[in-house]
């Protein structure tokens, strides 16, 4: 009976672990995307403050299209 219970408990723990790992993978994807977004935003901020956007409008668009 104890053996039975032990196997049940270890299954539950494994299930909890796998749920955690899945969720962590989601987080990792989101985190990667987030860093990407930040670097895009920074590029734009840089372009704006340097006034590059107004001088090279076409270039600015191209950058946009690439991202």
């Amino acid at each position: 009976y104890l053996e039975d219970f032990k196997s049940q408990a270890s299954h539950q723990l494994l299930a909890a672990q796998s749920r955690y790992i899945t969720q962590k993978q989601i987080t990792q994807v989101l985190e990667r995307e987030m860093s990407e977004l930040y670097s895009q935003l920074e590029k734009k901020n840089l372009l704006q403050s340097a006034g590059v956007v107004s001088d090279k409008r076409a270039g600015g668009r191209a950058t946009e299209a690439n991202t």
Partner: protein, 294 residues
Amino acid sequence: MAEDPQRNFRSIYYEKVGFRGVEEKKSLEILLKDDPLDVEKLCTFSQRFPLPSLYRIHVWKVLLGILPPHAESHLLVMKYRDEQYHDVLHALQVMRYIHEDSPKVEIFLRMYQLETEKLPRQTDITHLEPEDEDFFAIAKAMYEMVKNEVDSYWLIKCFVNQFSHKYGDSLPHLPKSLEYYLSLEDSRLLNHLKSCGAMSKLPYGLWFRKCFAGCLPDSSLQRVWDKLISGSCKILVFVAMEILLSYKIMLLGMSKAESITQFLENMPQENTDAIVSKAVDLWHKHCGTPMHTI
């Protein structure tokens, strides 16, 4: 500081950490050898005696449920705790809530806010709530005592959680309770404080919401938190009262509520160990020596 010789005599007993201290340490060591640990007994022990500093953090972790009672699970559970800590830390870095130079207490606050679903939007994190200041004070004191950041964070989180869940409702009643016990111990001092309107202006936030963090030095604070963590928030009332009693002569000489508040907020850092010892005596005197968890 003016000392009342009679009250001083009582606490000399505690200040000498001689034979008694050794006996206590031994009996705690026996309790800590239990597997699984008897959390109830550990609670009773910390209610009655100060924890030896060697075992304090370990016992706090058990009492706050950070470590489970079974020794066999400690490694696994601490691995989970460690991962959880680093998961939150990393996410906050990516979202730029914190950076490498952020002060530890700020990191701990953001982590705690994330885990309690109170994290503000990144665009308005400059705004701090009054309860955040309480959190900072507790976090700073805990981190200084514990040093290890994973342990610190878990202890802060569970301490703050336990405090608000368990004692949140009694918190507003503590000033009244202080007034009641002070009327029993020293009605003259109480009348003086009342007559200059100081009773409503005492530093209750520092005493009861920050739990004396930033008021007492760590070595004294730990002994108050031993009682708090093991289940009594009444101890806060007795420490506050003992502070008033210890500075009685000085307080009787002040007639402005503002000066009294200011003095108490920046209380001298000497003799705080004696103040805590006497506060524990008073607490046992009025509430009984706990045989079981309260």
